[in-house]
Symmetry: C2
Subunit: 295 residues, 2 copies
């Protein structure tokens, strides 16, 4: 069997390079640029005919990326690629998983249909599953989910002395408990009341019992950063002078990042979404998922 051929869509070059090493793949050259009218030009400079192909494209800010990804996959097929897989360390549109109000778009299902029409398989990391038990419930194509928890735990164990893990809400409790267990540390979760996209009221339990520990706030996604900021602020008031924030997916804007750093002593994320806070490399667990999908 020939080696798989990996292509990085813009911004995914670093992970593609490391992943190619892990799975003994070959890196292909793809050219993607914008015309002055903001349409996309795309060209494969490496022959994909009869090759098993992997496109690496994390899906934060998905609206701007989707057509480029679709053009890449469609063109690869036209040019004779045998299989076209997608590595999307962050998978978009997992949150609107239900019609909460009449007339709403259930974008998780619509996006899954769009993406599944383009690629043969999908590997991702910790998708934000809530009402669906697995990705298979909405993605008709083969999928594999890699888990960041062991890598987050390893980072915390190596970098934080006497941590206390703090999860954002009841829904995350199982996940937080599992990470805490791997770290060998206690954990607590917050109660959270969401009043709007950016307005989240949280109640932080009294953590004086743990005053000799360093709180590590963990979550799957940092987006507005509101929850973490608010929690960090509360913990400061409880005289915790050092607060660490750890997350899988760094979706926060430059502005949110600056604000969060006013309250948190450190913000640490995985490289699922390229961001200055990245410190945990997911490539080993992604490589495992990819290997299973390529069998």
């Amino acid at each position: 069997m020939t080696r798989p051929l990996l292509f990085a869509l813009p911004g995914n070059e670093a992970m593609t390079r490391v992943l190619a090493g892990e799975i003994e793949g070959e890196i292909g050259v793809i050219e993607v640029r914008s015309f002055p009218d903001e349409e996309t030009y795309l060209r494969f400079h490496t022959d994909v005919k009869n090759r098993s192909m992997i496109i690496v494209c994390t899906l934060d800010r998905p609206d701007a990326k989707f057509l480029t990804l679709a053009f890449a996959a469609a063109t690869a097929r036209e040019l004779g690629a045998r299989r076209v897989g997608l590595v999307a360390p962050y998978l978009a549109y997992m949150r609107q998983d239900k019609r909460f109000h009449p007339g709403e778009a259930v974008t998780s299902v619509a996006f899954a249909r769009q993406l599944s029409a383009e690629v043969d398989w999908l590997a991702t990391v910790d998708p934000h599953l809530h009402r669906y038990p697995t990705l298979g419930a909405i993605y008709p194509i083969p999928t594999r989910t890699a888990h960041a928890a062991p890598l987050l735990a390893a980072w915390i164990r190596s970098n934080v002395e006497r941590p206390l893990l703090v999860g954002p809400d009841i829904e995350s409790e199982q996940w937080v408990a599992a990470v805490a267990d791997m770290v060998g540390a206690p954990y607590r979760v917050l109660r959270k009341e969401r009043r709007g996209d950016r307005d989240v009221r949280i109640s932080v339990p009294d953590l004086h019992l743990y005053s000799d520990r360093i709180p590590v706030l963990i979550d799957d996604i940092i987006s507005s950063g509101g929850t973490m900021m608010e929690t960090a602020r509360h913990l400061r008031e409880q005289h915790f002078h050092f607060v660490v924030c750890v997350a899988v997916h760094a979706l926060l804007s430059a502005e949110s990042y600056r604000s969060l750093r006013d309250f948190a002593s450190a913000v640490v994320t995985t490289n699922a979404v390229p961001h200055p806070s990245n410190a945990i490399d997911l490539t080993p667990v992604i490589a495992e998922a990819v290997r299973e999908l390529m069998i």
Copy 2:
């Protein structure tokens, strides 16, 4: 038969309002907004069940718009809309209509396939057809093309005394000749050599014979504005003190617009793409196309 229900995607409100008047349609309410993580939220506030529906969404800067449009169409179908048509006064991705170099994405065909999977019919204005004779060659759904030429001609006739029409290249000659004929004015076309996306070399014929006329540069699209700027500059050198630029689709950036206005006395476009230079209303010809598609 119930009246058609029109929905404006963001930025298309003005045309939707006028179009609804022309075709005796009803305007529905759609909510579209961005979450902090730049995913799209979409909700129909007007019931679409069993309705014949029209989405109005011009497709300049298409990458950022495509998913919103796809979500709207898919959701409308789920909610029981009888038919979902698209009015896209500017239709994107008509330029890469061939694999000029190995490995290139033929985005016109790929985009046509994407769009045709979402909507039942498409009405547009002067698509940039070059190697394809008609939209039907790449769009499997019913399409209608409205023509801006009579409206451009009417504007020139009413606003420019003794015009001389100037077309950008040999390919546009037929179209320019037709507009000139409607205006009742002479025309000339340039010779153009494209060396890159932004580097276009043109040669302007000697127009001293027409020194008593006002040159009106016309084109289907102004994108970088390079051709028009260069032409206007040459005409200034030939002592034409007043140069008018007229185009159907205003794809130019704010910066290109500023630069173009340094050379052109006036820049006038249709409302196919909302832009400060819009002065020609296409709604009458679009309404005609829509009526044919809704029969």
